[in-house]
């Protein structure tokens, strides 16, 4: 039986704004059999999405296919005319984008976008298309399949949008569906649902698929074969089982090892609790919007949260989007002054608002944000970014300042040359390190880490965690580590506080995770974390599914 897709020696080149041509896909070849789901695994910059898009004869602006062939059902996409490609897109090969939220046109009703393929290619009359869409909605387990299509994108949840985008792809009965990191932006409990839905419809339709992801665990659930990519070159191709359990290529092993939850082993200090906690949060209530008559904010996000952080130890805060974990960090940092409740640093009460706090208090408590891209001023060189807190807090100038900057960069394992670069010229990992270094520049006692590894590739993230640990040893720091990812939290925290809907669900010792969870929500949460095992998804109790 002939392959549905045959990619041979594919080459893609990109033109930088300097006008330099650089190859980003260097001779990639692999096949996809009909009905087979192949996963493209790799870190950012590995070219996985670029390859996936070439299957539709599309390259993002600045890129172009410079060589090789991509034959789909016997026809070479590369050689096709624009018109032919148009005709093929949506009907033979369809695309499920990474962020459905961005990929849906905010101005149009969902149904119109879902059935647009049918409209464009006149594959079927509109009423029939609508009927089919409703079926798909039902198949994808969307609530109220009859009417959900009448809504606008902003009126449905992220998980639902992601499923709708699948429906949008499937409406044209394509031979091949491309999933571009379709669950990365979702919470674990939602992700599990979406994965389920995808898997079932794909199986039912007997369609072939390309699943682009950086998350091995997710891929393990859905793919038949895995293609491991790095820097636009195929590292290893093999059946999922083989790749997971008998990785041949060192890089694959590296990927896998990054997944093994390394329990945070350190001499547990029983007396830690006894000592005065360095940071204590007591009954904090906070939210956004104007204060109501009861002097409570219009939109309440934190409903009476309390926690304590012993000196030299780390507190993990875990929860899904909207659980209020980031808001907690902002409340502690004084960026969002709590409506009531206390924040104590070393037993001293802190002013609610950062503006009112003393320089010293501000210095001792630093916050590091998730997205280094937005957390670093893109218009200022790294040197300035690191130099400012030095001048601001410690009044350092000239050579002293320069030395300290070099020190800091060295601390976060960055070459001093970087001091003259702009953030835009750094990689994600480098940026996050700079982001961290800026906090260190203040010589803080507590660092609030808000999802600092979430945006990073697994390997890089693991490295950053390691760095955090080393720094802690050297500088006797205490972290509040906020994340949605259990494994990272496990990797560094002594205690883990589970949050949901602005409230503390329970606080557990890290080494008791994940099975020590008593509260059903935490159990659900932990159970939803994909495991590196092909059977996991089907094994997850349906109780999880319902509550999603």
């Amino acid at each position: 039986m002939p392959n549905l897709v045959e990619i041979r020696d594919l080459q893609v080149k990109a033109t930088t704004d300097a006008g330099n041509i650089i190859p980003i896909i260097k001779g990639v070849s692999f096949d996809i059999a009909p009905g087979e789901i192949v996963a493209l695994i790799g870190e950012s910059g590995s070219g996985k999405t670029t390859i996936a898009l070439t299957l539709m004869g599309h390259t993002r602006s600045g890129c172009e296919i410079s060589g090789g062939s991509v034959s789909l059902a016997g026809r070479d996409v590369v050689q096709m005319t624009a018109r032919q490609r148009q005709a093929m897109r949506g009907t033979e090969v369809a695309y499920v984008p990474q962020s459905a939220a961005a990929a849906f046109n905010p101005a149009l009703r969902l149904i119109d976008q879902v059935i647009e393929v049918a409209r464009i290619h006149r594959t079927m009359p509109m009423p029939q298309a609508r009927a089919k869409a409703v079926e798909l909605f039902r198949a994808l387990a969307l609530p109220d399949p009859e009417n959900i299509g009448q809504r606008y994108p902003h009126q449905v949840s992220g998980g639902q949008l992601q499923r709708l985008s699948a429906a949008m792809a499937l409406i044209g009965d394509p031979k091949l569906v491309i999933f571009d990191e379709p669950t990365t932006a979702l919470d674990v409990t939602t992700q599990i649902e979406v994965l389920r839905a995808f898997k079932s419809v794909m199986k039912a339709g007997g369609m072939a698929g390309v699943y682009v992801s950086h998350d091995l665990a997710v891929v393990a659930q859905i793919a038949d074969r895995i293609v491991v990519l790095k820097g636009g070159v195929v590292q290893e191709i093999g059946p999922t089982e083989a790749i997971l359990h008998r990785p041949a290529h060192p890089y694959t092993r590296e990927l896998l090892s990054a997944f093994e939850p390394v329990a945070y082993a350190r001499a547990a200090q029983p007396e830690a609790a006894a000592r005065v906690p360095i940071l204590e949060v007591a009954n904090v209530i906070a939210g956004y919007g104007p204060l109501g008559p009861d002097r409570m904010p219009h939109k309440l996000v934190l409903k009476d949260v309390s926690c304590r952080l012993a000196k030299g130890s780390n507190l993990g805060v875990i929860g899904e989007s909207g659980s209020g974990k980031s808001t907690l960090a902002r409340a502690i940092a004084g960026l969002l002054p709590p409506a009531s409740g206390k924040v104590l640093l070393n037993g001293e009460l802190l002013e609610p608002a950062a503006a009112a706090r003393s320089k010293e208090d501000l210095r001792r408590l630093q916050i590091v944000f998730q997205l280094a891209d937005t957390a670093l001023n893109p218009a200022r060189p790294i040197g300035d970014i690191l130099g400012r807190p030095l001048t601001f807090y410690h009044g350092l100038k000239g050579a002293a300042k320069q030395d300290r900057i070099t020190q800091l960069l060295d601390m976060v394992r960055l070459p001093k040359a970087i001091a003259h670069r702009l953030p835009g010229e750094l990689s994600g990992g480098q940026k996050q390190r700079v982001n961290l270094a800026r906090a260190l520049a203040a010589n803080p006692e507590v660092i609030l880490c808000d999802e600092i590894t979430s945006a990073l590739d697994t390997v890089v993230a693991a490295a950053v965690i390691e760095l955090l640990k080393e720094l802690q040893r050297e500088l006797d720091l205490s972290y509040v580590f906020i994340s949605h990812d259990l494994s990272t939290v496990q990797a560094i925290c002594d205690e883990v506080m589970v949050m949901n809907g602005g409230e503390t669900v329970e606080t557990l010792r890290a080494d008791s995770l994940p099975h020590g969870a008593r509260h059903p929500y935490s159990q659900l949460l932990f159970a939803s974390v994909p495991q590196l095992d092909t059977g996991w998804l089907d094994g997850v109790p349906l109780r999880v599914a319902k509550s999603a």
Binding site: T16, D17, A18, G19, N20, I22, G45, A333, G334, L335, A354, A355, R357, K359, L362, Q366, I367, F369, L371, T374, A375, L376, N377, P378, A379, R380, R388, P389, F392, Y393, R421, L422, G424, E425, L426, S427, R438, A442
Partner: protein
């Protein structure tokens, strides 16, 4: 804008040929504006030809105006006023507009509301009429002209800068600076401003063009530089009678205005872009 010029590749900048051409013309006029008066073959007020709207000759390169004055000299002199006044006005308007806009965006609250209202009101008064009233009231001296033009274009610059600053203000790096305990001036100048220089420059350029044109419009309504000097707009206007004969006295200043405004525009559209190749 008049002093920005293409930066060579090796400094890590890239600029299109159109950009270079435009920059050259802008630069040229800028230079003329500075050294023009020393190049004038005749004093701009001197009547050296009894023929009016005279043609281009070897002696009078750009012909003579409605009084028989040397157009070449008058153009050279005019460059100083057109470029100078417009530049001063645009700098004044945009500088104050941008600072106010950023402050409003960062501080918000009453300051923001009131300022926005007032400037919006100002915006609703037709520019030419406002200029007319003001100059009729306090007379037409260069400072007055500059002030009036600046006031007319301040609201626009403010609106523009504010909308930009509002977006940047929500960025994490600004929050970080706040968390560090930075005060408003630092936030504005060090964190926000560097991130809007591009669009602001483009905006400055556009406003410069509009100001040049408004200046010529005002000159049509009888307001402008004190004689014998005149900005290009006034030159066109005082010689408009020569239009039927396509006298250089009217065509040349028009071309001068066009060349300046067009090149400023092209320059904006083709500003040098910093070469950014991610280093991984």
């Amino acid at each position: 804008m008049a002093v920005s010029f293409p930066t060579p590749r090796r400094l890590g900048y890239h600029i299109s040929w159109t950009g270079i051409l435009a920059a050259t013309i802008v630069l040229f006029w800028a230079v003329i504006a500075i050294i023009g008066p020393w190049l004038m073959p005749h004093p701009p007020g001197d009547i050296i030809d009894f023929e009016y709207f005279g043609p281009m000759t070897g002696e009078l390169w750009f012909g003579s105006d409605y009084l028989g004055r040397d157009m070449f000299s008058r153009i050279l002199m005019g460059a100083r006023y057109t470029v100078g006044i417009s530049l001063a006005a645009v700098v004044l308007a945009c500088a104050s507009g941008v600072v106010l806009g950023m402050t409003a965006a960062v501080t918000g609250g009453w300051f923001d509301t009131i300022l926005s209202r007032v400037l919006d009101a100002l915006n609703s008064i037709p520019s030419k009429l406002f200029g007319l009233v003001m100059v009729a009231a306090v007379g037409s001296s260069i400072p007055v002209l500059i002030a009036v033009l600046a006031v007319i274009y301040l609201p626009g610059a403010y609106r523009f800068a504010r909308s930009l600053a509002v977006n940047i203000n929500t960025m994490d790096f600004v929050t970080v600076a706040r968390a560090r305990g930075e005060r408003t001036p630092y936030l504005i100048l060090k964190e926000i401003l560097p991130n809007m220089t591009g669009p602001v420059l483009a905006d400055v350029g556009l406003r410069f063009v509009f100001i040049v044109l408004l200046l010529s419009g005002l000159s049509f309504l009888g307001l402008g530089v004190q004689p014998p000097n005149a900005d290009w707009g006034s030159l066109v206007r005082e010689n408009i009678g020569g239009l039927p004969f396509a006298a250089p006295a009217v065509t040349i200043p028009s071309l001068a205005i066009a060349s300046l405004t067009i090149s400023v525009n092209l320059l904006i559209d083709n500003l040098p872009v910093k070469i950014r190749d991610r280093s991984e």
